[in-house]
Amino acid sequence: MNDEVVRVEELTKDFGALRALDRLSLTIPRGTIYGLVGPNGSGKSTLIKILTGLLRPTSGQATLFGQTAGTISIRRRIGYMPQLEGLYLDLTVEENLQFFASVYGLKGADQRVRTEEALSLVELTARRGSKGEELSGGLRQRLSLACALLHRPELLLLDEPTVGVDPELRQTFWEAFTRMAGEGTTLIISTHYLEEASRCRRLAMLRDGQLLVEESPARILESTGEASLEEAFLRLGKEGRRVGLA
């Protein structure tokens, strides 16, 4: 129980007549890299936003650390990288980091150390003085990730963190994710790159707000008998099958 970071029960979200999430249930234990995969519009961002407290569920429940999502007392424990870049383009790379560090209460030497750490993780140390608006899409994506993990949260919610990031750096990112998970950080990562989904401990495959499957990548391949997650996803989508629900 103590090991359970996220619990989602019968979670439903409607936007007017559109059902963006349909009675989703899942639990995520500590130290897991949990992948949310599915095509555009399948509800990945909606689920992440409900977990951050940005959106309220229509029905059902989402709890983090045993408390309702969005509760002020747990906010310090989560880090969020929005799908929109969410950066101040008129500030420099370093100023963005400093601003978010201060928002999370990091000061003085602490703030400097974390800022350096984050800069070197996303390989932006040399661009620290560049303004946000001078950065290319890929560089902004890197800065955005750095802003999310600066305060070393226990739970990281990353909405498509590797979009626009070149393959080499994507590799670096995933190594960092794996290392953080090893240190006990829980990561929820949405992606539509199925090849990187195989690096997740568990995967939730979404389509039209429904959970198609929730399993480890290996078990998904095994149960569908497909050679790749891509094919497995297509097959599950066609069958509209719902398996692996706890």
Partner: protein, 372 residues
């Protein structure tokens, strides 16, 4: 040539399509001018009949009282008979706009064929009322003269009585700019702080940084306060510049404490940030934020006491004016800068501004939620 026309037409179509889908912009384009123009027309038509004049005649001239009163009323003045010694107090308390004091020796002077000196005291802080009073009294005096058909009111009046004008506040030193400066100070602050906070908050939404802020430990109230604080700095500097410019460059005449001016501006800034954030929740882009100007800003210019004092407005307009923060800011700043009054005189206005600030902050904090 025709390829160029095609491109132009395509562009025109795109623009037409865009606006056809944007009902708000359409409404603004078509309705806002009507709104502002009706407001203006209504104001110009509104009878500014509420000039309150105190009249004092010497007791020896009691038989003339009725006729004089009637002649004044014929000029649309609201006449109250007063004692000469009460005049100052009644003006200071704002119960009268002006007092017309006939001299004790009126009858003797008239009998001797001399020119009586009539004293006019003006409250003085509203130039438009001053002008109104002067215009109506000139007509009244003219009617008293021998050449007029009303001869017999003051028989054998050899010449127009001499009008000796005293301003309680303001007066000769006070140019129109001096009267307008207090209103300008608060208006510019309101306008810029409102617009900039609305636009920057919109940017916060469109860039997605608001999502990061809402997920962070920052509470909604803190977000609003943080914004207010940020704008406070710039707006206080701005108001200092406007004030210094008015005093040293425009050479306006002012009385009273600059600290009180700052206190009023402080509240204007806070309420404007709150209003800006709150209303930015109802705009989807920067253009739509700018569209709030004719709805929120212009009525406050027209009704806030910028040009016309509250008491000269039709009751319906006065009621609207009393629901706007600018009205109280301008009242308070006029009291301090033109009349040199202190905290004791302006605390009701400060209280009203504080009320608006609290209200707008609450609305802003509530609206921040729906911005994700």
């Amino acid at each position: 040539m025709s390829a160029s026309l095609d491109r132009i037409w395509a562009l025109a179509l795109r623009v037409i399509r865009q606006f056809r889908r944007d009902r708000r912009t359409l409404a603004l384009l078509f309705l806002a001018p009507l709104f502002v123009m009706s407001l203006l027309a209504y104001m110009i038509q509104s009878p500014s009949s509420s000039v309150r004049l105190g009249l004092s005649l010497p007791s020896a001239a009691a038989p003339l009282q009725g006729v004089v009163e009637e002649a004044l009323r014929a000029q649309g003045l609201e006449v109250t008979v007063i004692q000469e010694q009460d005049a100052r107090e009644l003006l200071e308390e704002g119960k009268l706009d002006a007092a017309l004091l006939f001299p004790q020796d009126l009858l003797q002077v008239l009998a001797a064929g001399g020119q009586p000196k009539v004293e006019l005291w003006l409250e003085g802080s509203e130039p438009s009322i001053n002008g109104e009073v002067m215009a109506r009294l000139t007509a009244f005096l003219h009617n008293l003269s021998v050449s007029s058909p009303r001869q017999g009111v003051l028989p054998n009046l050899p010449a127009l009585p001499e009008l000796v004008t005293t301003y309680l506040y303001g007066g000769a030193d006070f140019t129109t700019v001096s009267y307008l400066a207090p209103a300008f100070v608060s208006f510019f602050i309101f306008f810029f702080v409102f617009l900039l906070s609305a636009v920057s908050f919109l940017r916060e939404r469109s860039r997605g940084t608001i999502e990061r802020l809402l997920v962070s430990p920052l509470g909604r109230g803190e977000i609003v306060l943080g914004y207010a604080l940020g704008f406070l700095l710039f707006a206080l500097v701005q108001s200092a510049i406007i004030l210094l410019f008015s005093i040293y460059v425009l050479g306006i005449h002012y009385l009273g404490s600059l600290w009180l001016v700052y206190l009023v501006n402080f509240l204007v800034i806070l309420s404007s940030v709150g209003l800006g954030i709150f209303l930015s929740a109802f705009a989807r882009n920067e253009l739509q934020a700018v569209q709030f100007i004719p709805i929120v800003v212009i009525p406050q210019i027209l009704l806030g006491g910028f040009f016309w004092p509250l008491q000269q407005m039709a009751p319906a307009l006065r009621w609207i004016a009393q629901a706007m923060p600018m009205t109280y800011a301008i009242q308070a700043l006029k009291a301090v800068m033109v009349r040199g009054q202190g905290l004791a005189a302006i605390w009701p206005q400060l209280l009203a501004l504080l009320g608006f600030t609290i209200l707008f902050f609450l609305l802003a904090a509530l609206s921040v939620r729906k911005m994700a």
